[in-house]
């Protein structure tokens, strides 16, 4: 049964941002986990060729942000943009091309069709139709919803089961050991970098997460994201992989937080098709 929500009570706000340039410093390369220098693109700007459903890792990239990376120039307005934008919200470029938000990473990240992305560049204005913060699953009071557009919850496979639990389909479960940078930050900001997905690096770094795809729904074990991102035994956080390949140690493909609560309030189903592509 489709999970009931308070979506009818939510309002929509029109927000703006711009495509933010990739940033570097005068020192050039950084070091990977094994101490090798690298200098690779991926973060900021317009990143072409990687979309929902594509592999998250396996690129010569660092902090891969698929599609558009969006910020607002004014610090206060930027925090509103980062906090209020939800996964699944519509974005629009100045030329009228439309896409959807796939997550946050200190930028709002948006996937657009490849031919539309090819026409966008750094500095271009982007409109975000923000709706979703405040969303509740009315029959699941133990669960907190974060960064989720109502449309996403409607289209995610699963829903309220006869036993009262929320059925959620995920492509992977993530052990608490994988949680890296992003621990201790607000659940509405950026995402949780997952370690153990360093495709091509040492096997002693692996936690078996090299098969993740952009847009995959995942279940992070022992993670409580109700009031910020922290460890809590027996809690689960559902996220969506919004960023990809990382070389920097302690970083990796990152889920934006979506639904969090005690494990017994969920019925998790492993499904290789559990991906944000449902929102298209």
């Amino acid at each position: 049964m489709r999970a009931e929500t308070n979506a009818a009570r939510l309002v929509t706000q029109i927000l703006t941002g711009e495509v933010w340039p990739p940033l570097a410093d005068r020192n050039g390369p950084r070091l990977d986990a094994d101490g090798r220098a690298f200098l690779l693109p991926g973060m900021g700007g317009v990143t072409l060729g990687v979309h929902c459903g594509d592999p998250a890792t396996g690129y010569a990239a660092d902090h891969l942000e698929p599609g558009l990376s969006i910020r607002h120039r004014d610090p206060g307005a930027n925090m509103a943009l980062q906090f209020l934008t939800c996964v699944g919200n519509t974005v629009r470029t100045a030329s009228g091309a439309e896409g959807f938000v796939i997550g946050q990473h200190a930028y709002v990240l948006a996937d657009l069709p490849e031919e539309a992305l090819a026409e966008v560049t750094v500095g271009d204005p982007v409109t975000v139709v923000a709706r979703g913060q405040g969303l509740r699953l009315t029959d699941h009071p133990a669960l907190a919803v974060k960064n989720c557009s109502p449309e996403l919850v409607e289209r995610m496979p699963g829903g309220t089961r006869a036993d009262g639990r929320l059925e959620v389909h995920v492509a992977a479960t993530v052990p608490a050991e994988a949680v890296g940078a992003g621990a201790g930050m607000a659940s509405e900001f950026a995402n949780t970098d997952l370690m153990g997905a360093y495709a091509g690096l040492s096997p002693d770094l692996s936690l078996g997460l090299e098969g993740l795809r952009i847009g995959d729904f995942v279940a992070i074990e022992d993670a409580d994201h109700r009031f910020g991102r922290g460890y809590r035994s027996g809690y689960v956080t559902i996220g969506v992989i919004s960023t990809g390949h990382c070389m920097l140690h302690g970083h990796g493909p990152g889920p934006s937080s979506l639904i969090t609560g005690p494990a017994e309030a969920f019925h998790i189903v492993r499904s290789p098709d559990a991906n944000l592509e449902v929102i298209r």
Binding site: V179, M195, D204, L205, F227, G230, Y231
Partner: protein, 281 residues
């Protein structure tokens, strides 16, 4: 290669609270006002319980910063645990103390000194830090030293033999409990451990204790590596924030088989005023 000492300037921090609301939200959703998070803190000493204060990230002494962001990062990167500091300006001028740890984000150096000197400090006072230790080595291939004044190598509970460094620690923390600080550089950021008084073996955790972080490699940014181990000093106390907790400044990192630990649940903290003043352990 010999190590190099540099004199750095730290400015005593004034605590900051973002925006118009004083509240932070704890791991259970309750609002609180963060007291003790930076600046000059009185009444907290090395050896005090890490869970002993209703405060946020409370450190035993004063935090030093620098108004220029790049100089602040350098101050944090080059200051090492055990470095001597001397107050240069203000009512506490001439007072001496020691670096006991560091904190991340914009960077902070935590210094400990006698309570009467701390009480005379004022945010904005200048303190000179004898930065010394980055580049030091124990001569044990595979095991790296960082953030540690070389003079402490002979004063901490560690033993070098048969190509291994054996360390006595208060306890070990599995990597899944390591929180904020992962993915950041170990010379400029501490690792908060999400432990509580009910975490096995760590109820008695104290400021100045050495702890082992299992499966954590901090050589090139801090992160998970199976079979690795990092040993650090508990430099600040607990935090109500999710993902945060007592802060560990890493001082040794290497493959776990080259860095064995002995757990001593009841002994004195490894880093104490006595040790810092030069008495052998």
């Amino acid at each position: 290669m010999s190590t190099l000492a540099v004199n750095l300037l730290g400015i005593v921090e004034h605590p900051e609270i973002d925006g118009m609301t004083p509240y932070r939200i704890d791991a259970d959703g309750r609002p609180y006002v963060p007291a003790g998070d930076g600046g000059v803190v009185l009444g907290v000493r090395l050896g005090d319980p890490a869970f002993g204060f209703d405060a946020d990230h409370v450190a035993p002494g004063a935090c030093l910063v620098h108004p220029d962001p790049a100089a602040r990062h350098a101050l944090t990167a080059y200051a090492c645990v055990g470095n001597e500091v001397v107050v240069r300006t203000g009512a506490a001028r001439g007072a001496r103390g020691w670096v006991v740890g560091k904190r991340g984000e914009a960077g902070r150096v935590i210094v400990s000194m006698a309570q009467e000197h701390l009480a005379a400090l004022r945010p904005g006072d200048g303190i000179s830090v004898r930065g010394h230790g980055q580049g030091a080595s124990l001569g044990v291939p595979g095991v790296e030293v960082l953030n540690l004044d070389p003079r402490l190598l002979g004063l901490l509970p560690l033993r070098v033999e048969d190509g291994k460094v054996t360390v006595t620690v208060r306890g070990t923390v599995p990597s899944r409990l390591v929180g904020n600080g992962l993915g950041r550089p170990a010379q400029m950021w501490d690792l908060d451990v999400q432990v509580t008084p009910s975490t096995p073996g760590l109820a008695g955790l104290r400021l100045g204790d050495l702890v082992a972080l299992d499966d954590v490699d901090v050589r090139h940014n801090m992160g998970y590596r199976r079979g690795w181990r990092t040993v650090g000093v508990v430099a600040h106390g607990d935090s109500p924030l999710p993902g945060h907790g007592p802060g560990v400044t890493p001082v040794l990192t290497g493959p776990a088989d080259l860095l064995p630990v002995t757990v001593d649940p009841g002994g004195e903290p490894a880093l104490s005023e006595t040790v810092l003043s030069g008495a052998p352990y």
